[in-house]
Symmetry: C2
Subunit: 573 residues, 2 copies
């Protein structure tokens, strides 16, 4: 049994993760968060909000999971969001075509369809379902968006969004107005996204419905410094730059200042967000020793991107797994939506002081031009208005009307130069996007916090989750199942719940078994009520990790627990 | 301009609600929550969790928004979740058929399709789109679930869930195990649900994608008392019982104890959840004077339900609108899923002490039966094993094998009576379901908290949101846009953010204008930094509702703000 099986076994048994629709046989690519899993997820999302929404000030918005077709035509998803597929003509089973030639070439996912098909045939690949050889049809492109129809009939096509990002991009005008038309500003969204995998493998790592937490930060294309860069300049991160990947140069640990100084990370703004990502991941329980930042290689990076990094975690079964992507997407998204919608999605970068710009105003004498050019007079007029000062020099002024050049006597028009004030430069903002895969982060947190130990010759499983993210914060346990201990225990449950602490009560089995049960779900603190409680008004708090115990007066309990959750550990005293 | 228009205008202008996909022309039935709307929504959901998850102890789970077909066959949605539709043959526009005859009959939504069609024809209804008369086709049934395909091909049908409830019902076995096989227990879910309306009207009240917060509480069918009933027995609620609706008897205010005692609410458990709903709604900002609980009339209640109540709010444009439904759904859902899945979804209600039950064990003498009945011996044996003690009396014992009766001599079999211990009674749990429409609640909260006032001859719009739910909790405002005031103001922003308070900073425009801006979005407290701040280290806190101001030392600010948010108002002193 490998670690993945152990984790999934624990997760199912204890109510973290369940296969969806199991009552009806289940379907690959869908998982439920059970009671403990959903609580863990909520706490991780809340810490993300703490950092991105409250501290960074990037307001969260919530847009629908269904989107209309024009959005995804503009974003490129209707064309580009697909995987190569082939169907076995014998058993009708559909396969990810590139998966069939894994091990035959190194990067099957980079090959064109025709080449994949050639390799399948040449290597006489067997159908993994029916064993047939030579039964695979052409390799086609399968679009990975779930498709539906909005309203009756098929006229309004809808797609389940492949990312939360588009809902933010198409709201740029609303958001820019909300932020009083100043750059930079950021916006976030946590929500469901969908990817209709051809045949998902890899369990919880590759889901058809998953949760993303994304931030889109709109910045000036001319200024990619970060105002708080100094606060992260000394932070050490483990980088795996593109150049190191080519010759397997391994990772390097560098201060953020040096990563930017040496040109490894493209600019301060991106580097700042690598650090923020690192701090978030470690805070929720990713093991820093199994975390690295891998730069995209030039051929895997989207053509428009300036620089792109993935936070990757080391897992036992799947090796290094991407859990966050942080990219400088330039003006790609806004430009695409501007082009498709015909709307102006630009910002004005205000000059420190408005600039004075000279402009020519032409006032033709219509009483002359009208009779002379008749039906062409209007077009002549328009042509004249677009001329520069230079073109207005000379006795005859040449304008182009319907492809023909007309020479107009200088005295038929008047013009004057006026000085206008220009507030700033018009630009399409660039977008920095940190994009978090919440489900994979949750899996990584569980795997990295999982430990099998032997205590007093008894095995114990323990999830060393940070106290902040542990689903159950406190287990309240009467030492024995006796009425005189149960009642005060229940009173403590009520007190802690009123204080907003998530508490469970457990009185079944020996105290040792109850400790083990709580260790296995990561409960950081157990409060035990015993006969001394009745006499001294004190209880025992047991620490999950050290298994140390301290006695605390009941009246101080809520406050002590709070403090311990905040410090993610035991505060002796 | 009616109140709805004013509210929607304010909501759009200030970033609460935006029409979705506006960049591409929009689509009816979809709304975005802008920065302030999403924050308000989050806070309301968190209070819901506070009550249902933390205080009541009903764990939250998270199941996919996509479901597979067998779920909705069992739940009845593939057949019953539909609206009558008719299409104009002239312009091809689809309509909710019953909407076309509104005003002609009183309850058009209760009529069968043929009757609606007859009334459309008889009344020569015009097509509201093209004006054609006599152009409507047959009235058909349009299923309101969004349909999609999971994976390639059309073989695996998926639907976007019409309610979050089914994801909880189909997890009954997992949940029952998680709760150690004891009743009652509760489970909750907050998430998206979908309804593919034919042609949605009523703006934010009738959405195609919306958020539900649902609790499913599994209880014994024999015991519908509530352990904490005494804590709500005195609470007064405004009831609108079914009997009052028939003769327009109006609402009555009753203590919960009396509502149950007089048989108005079916039982304690339901009554307890009416009160919990009331407390939640009032806490998030619904005006108790515009809130009532309306009982379903016998003909509108689902056939299986014992009793069902809607929390309704009074709105300016739409009148009384349902925002929560609280029902006793009996064993309907679990029985349906048990029947369709072939699984046993029952619970054992343990007896106080196990019961001793007598059972007959038959031991036929196969050395005689075998040779005598030959190929039928096995069937004879099975038939014998199912007999009761009574049937085993007499010299000849009659069993039925393949339709024929065989008389078996008594001496061919031995039997004995044994006493077995039975732990409890097997039952299908009943389900109490409070189901909240979060989007409608948000609309109600905004409308009920909205006020137009005149202060010092200046109009002011104010959202009197409870401080707990206001999107922005504190606005930090330097009195003047001067560097010496801006820097200390920014320092206060940082301090409050670190304390977890959601703060905005605003230095543009006169202080009066900034107060108005914050009044309009419901910010309960404004902190002003002036020249006294520099000398005395104090700031002014202004209360949104009373517009009173107090001076507070900076070092006490975080704590005072916390206290004010908790008390939802000004604490002088």
């Amino acid at each position: 049994m490998d670690t993945y099986e152990k984790i999934i076994g624990l997760a199912k048994r204890r109510g973290f993760l369940w296969n969806s629709f199991e009552l009806y046989g289940g379907t690959a690519g869908f998982y439920d968060y059970g009671p403990l899993g959903a609580m863990l997820k909520r706490r991780i999302e809340d810490i993300w909000r703490d950092i991105y929404v409250i501290e960074e000030g990037f307001y969260e918005i919530e847009t629908p999971t269904i989107g209309i077709e024009p959005i995804f035509v503009a974003s490129g998803h209707t064309r580009g969001f697909s995987d190569p597929m082939t169907v076995c003509s014998e058993c009708d089973h559909a396969f990810r075509a590139d998966h069939l030639i894994e091990g035959i070439v190194e990067t099957p996912d980079a090959l064109p369809a025709s080449e994949i098909k050639r390799l399948i045939d040449e290597n006489r690949i067997k159908c993994p379902n029916c064993g047939g050889v030579g039964t695979f049809g052409e390799v086609s492109s399968f679009n990975l968006m779930f498709r539906t129809a909005i309203g009756p009939g098929a006229e309004r096509v809808g797609y389940l969004r492949p990312e939360t990002a588009q809902g933010m991009f198409i709201n740029f005008e609303n958001l820019f107005r909300f932020y009083r038309e100043k750059l930079p500003f950021g916006v976030t969204q946590i929500g469901k996204a969908y990817r209709n995998e051809i045949s998902p493998r890899q369990g919880v790592i590759r889901l058809r419905e998953f949760t993303q937490a994304e931030a889109e930060i709109f910045i000036s294309p001319h200024d990619k410094t970060h105002p708080n860069f100094s606060s992260v300049a000394d932070t050490l991160l483990r980088y795996y730059p593109a150049s190191h990947q080519e010759n397997d140069g391994g990772t390097i640990e560098l201060a953020t200042r040096d990563a930017v100084g040496q040109g490894i990370v493209a600019h301060e703004f991106l580097a700042y967000h690598l650090v923020l990502t690192h701090l978030f991941l470690v805070r929720v329980g990713v093991d820093p020793a199994r975390l690295r930042f891998r730069q995209h290689q030039p051929d895997e990076m989207a053509h428009y991107a300036v620089d792109c990094w993935d936070a990757e975690v080391l897992t036992d079964r799947f090796g290094w797994v991407e859990i966050v992507g942080i990219a400088d997407r330039t003006d790609y998204d806004l430009s695409a939506h501007a082009a498709h919608s015909g709307r102006d999605l630009s910002a004005i970068l205000e000059y420190e002081t408005p600039k004075q710009v000279e402009r020519i105003i032409v006032t033709p004498d219509m009483s002359v031009i009208g009779p002379r050019y008749k039906e062409k007079a209007g077009k002549v007029l328009n042509a004249l208005k677009n001329l520069t000062e230079e073109e207005l020099n000379g006795d005859l002024i040449n304008v182009s009307v319907d492809g023909a050049t007309i020479a107009i006597p200088r005295d038929m028009i008047k013009y004057e130069a006026v000085t206008e004030e220009v507030r700033g430069e018009k630009v399409i903002p660039h977008v920095i996007e940190p994009s978090f895969g919440i489900d994979r982060i949750i899996y990584a947190v569980i795997e990295h916090s999982f430990a099998e130990e032997v205590v007093d010759e008894e095995p114990r499983n323990v999830l060393r989750l940070p106290a902040e993210v542990a689903p159950v914060q406190v287990a309240v346990l009467p030492l024995l199942t006796r009425e005189e201990l149960i009642e005060p225990a229940r009173e403590i449950v009520r007190t802690l719940r009123r204080a907003g602490v998530f508490v469970t009560y457990d009185d079944s089995g020996t105290i040792g078994r109850r400790y083990r049960r709580n260790d296995e779900i990561g409960t950081p603190f157990s409060v035990t009520i015993d006969y001394d409680t009745l006499e001294e008004d004190t209880v025992t708090i047991r620490d999950r990790d050290s298994m140390a115990q301290i006695r605390v007066p009941i009246r101080e309990l809520s406050e002590r627990i709070y403090e311990m959750i905040r410090n993610s550990g035991f505060c002796d005293g």
